[in-house]
């Protein structure tokens, strides 16, 4: 467990999330991708803190990332709900069309 | 972290599990006795209930449902017992504790949140309308009880100036926290009933849903769910004893025995409460939780914080 290995894992998580965020069509799935990217960021921030400078202030950065994630989630839910409300369930409509 | 507690090696985990199951069985036994009395039989005739039910469910076959999400269902059913055990990991038994995590209070909180996921998965797994509605009900209910629960357990942590359960217990040397933060204590007891899905918070497994999350499980699956609920209730009581009722503090008896006696007594009281109260519908619970209980707990927390600030400076 060195800084490099942890960062590699974090980069892997970040890139999987990036793939999801780019490729998914549905808002909530895009959100999942973003979450996964932030997950990687958290891991990286933790690793930087531990391996480079385990000073108290460093933890605050992590706290900020976690908060950002929560806010992103809340906003995401709100946006998804609004989209759903205003456009109706386009996905479901699509499904019916396909089946006929 | 704390000098008062001895951390025992992980080899003692099985003993903790046995103790937890014994407490769970105690809860079920009290419940059986109370039920027998309510039905007009001698209370003694209900004492064998947990054993008889265990035998019955061990003999029963498991049920399958069409298009069930088997792995998630299994996680949901089996997880409850595991989470209950993880909860008691940070609860000291007298002087001993399995792990005196410096953030034990937060750990307990995190484990209780895992129950959200597990109950919902148990409802989701069987692919049946009733159990699914039960799972959703639990989430609705969880939103109502979780924040009050969080603030309720924050109060003793603030008073003790530490998130370690050992420190919280040590801070109650003279005066139990339950005495001067009664609101937080009562809210926490309510939350224990809620995350173990007991009346008045039993709507997710309610009779009106034919058993809700329990509706489609039988045999060992059902046993795991039922035992998990009782174990959660026991773990919640044990934690309440540690953070509100002075843990092992008490005269005469050794500390570990005090912990057990208090836990058993609190558990019995909670079982009694559960039998006294009808279920509250979850949609009526949410406004109550947020509009009434949450401000009360916050007020309690405010009082505690002011006392600590004033007393500390």
């Amino acid at each position: 467990m060195t800084l490099q290995t942890v960062l590699l894992v974090a980069a892997a998580l970040f890139c999987v999330g990036l793939y999801g965020a780019i490729s998914q069509q549905v808002v909530v799935m895009v959100m999942m991708g973003l979450e996964l990217m932030l997950n990687g960021v958290i891991l990286a921030a933790g690793a930087f803190w531990w391996f480079l400078s385990p000073a108290p202030d460093g933890q605050v950065l992590l706290l900020v990332v976690i908060t950002a994630m929560t806010v992103e989630m809340a906003m995401g839910f709100a946006v998804a709900t609004l989209l759903h409300r205003s456009r109706g369930s386009d996905m479901t409509d699509m499904a019916t069309d396909l089946s006929r | 972290m704390t000098g008062a507690l001895t951390q025992v090696p992980a080899g003692w985990v099985p003993l903790a599990a046995v103790l937890l199951l014994a407490l769970a069985a105690l809860g079920a036994t009290v419940d059986g006795a109370l039920a027998a009395r309510a039905q007009g039989r001698h209370w003694g005739s209900g004492l064998g209930l947990p054993m008889a039910e265990t035998a019955r469910l061990l003999r029963q076959r498991r049920r399958r449902t069409v298009a069930a999400d088997r792995p998630l269902w299994l996680i949901g059913t089996g997880g409850l017992l595991v989470v209950a055990l993880l909860m008691v990991v940070v609860v000291p038994l007298g002087r001993w504790t399995l792990s005196d995590l410096p953030v034990g209070v937060v750990w307990f909180n995190a484990m209780d949140v895992v129950v959200w996921a597990l109950v919902w998965l148990a409802g989701w797994g069987p692919n049946s309308a009733h159990s699914l509605v039960g799972g959703y009900r639990f989430l609705a209910q969880a939103l109502a009880y979780e924040l009050p629960l969080m603030f309720a357990i924050t109060a003793p942590a603030v008073a003790a100036g530490s998130l370690a359960v050992g420190d919280v217990v040590a801070a109650q040397e003279g005066l139990w926290f339950a005495v001067w933060m009664p609101v937080a204590f009562l809210v926490f007891c309510g939350a224990v009933l809620a995350f173990s899905v007991r009346a008045p918070f039993s709507a997710p497994a309610g009779a009106d849903l034919a058993g809700g999350v329990l509706a489609d499980s039988s045999g060992i699956d059902r046993w795991l769910l039922l035992a998990g609920r009782w174990a959660l209730m026991a773990a919640g009581s044990a934690f309440a004893v540690a953070v509100f009722l002075g843990g092992g503090h008490g005269p005469l008896l050794p500390a570990w025995l005090w912990s057990l006696v208090k836990t058993g007594a609190l558990l019995a009281v909670l079982v009694w409460v559960r039998r006294r109260l009808p279920t509250v519908r979850p949609d009526r619970l949410l406004p109550f939780g947020w509009v009434v209980v949450l401000p009360l707990v916050l007020l309690q927390l405010l009082v505690v914080a002011v006392v600590v600030v004033v007393g500390g400076s």
């Binding site: 970040f14 890139c15 069509q25 909530v28 996964l36 391996f51 385990p54 839910f77 998804a80 | -």
Partner: protein
């Protein structure tokens, strides 16, 4: 040594479940795969001695994913599991971009000459985090936070329109008669 084994185990689970999020067909499974990924990262933070933050990550993310699952199922009305169909657009671009990013990041991680560790972790990290956030005014902040939160909640309650189940006893009858199905 033990730390290494635990770390690698957690790392593998974390990345694997991260990949699973976009591979499985079931919304419930995808959501909970993401939850597993978060939980493992939270546990890795515990390895770094970040007890509080690690457990908070577990706590918040499990809670969030439990709620997320509802949204997933609600808004993914059309589910790939029901009718196998691709919900993905620009798959090739996405893979390329993600792969390139990973290559760049990995190169950077491996090539940069990381500085030596400076300083040592505080004895009580949770306390030091508190001090870092709130300075010496922590106790005051504890008091204020309760007040602030109470204000937020009351503001929300006042501002909230009627929801799906606004049942305040007497209203129910109105609703039942007023909203007969179309």
């Amino acid at each position: 040594m033990v730390d290494d084994i635990v770390f690698w185990g957690l790392a593998v689970v974390s990345v694997a479940s991260g990949v699973a999020v976009f591979r499985v067909d079931s919304m419930a499974r995808a959501t909970y795969a993401l939850a597993v990924s978060f939980v493992t990262v939270g546990l890795v933070l515990l390895l770094f001695g970040l007890d509080y933050l690690g457990i908070v990550v577990v706590l918040m993310m499990v809670m969030e994913m439990a709620i997320m699952a509802i949204y997933m199922i609600m808004f993914m009305g059309m589910n790939p599991a029901l009718m196998p169909m691709s919900m993905v657009h620009g798959k090739r671009t996405a893979v390329t971009v993600a792969g390139l990013t990973f290559a760049v990041l990995a190169a950077g991680i491996l090539l940069v000459d990381w500085p030596e560790r400076r300083g040592a972790p505080a004895a009580d990290l949770t306390l030091s985090l508190g001090h870092a956030v709130m300075g010496s005014k922590m106790l005051v902040m504890i008091t204020v936070s309760a007040v602030l939160f109470a204000t937020i909640v009351s503001a929300l309650v006042l501002a909230l329109p009627r929801g799906r189940y606004d049942t305040d006893g007497a209203d129910d009858g109105d609703r039942a008669s007023g909203e007969a199905p179309s």
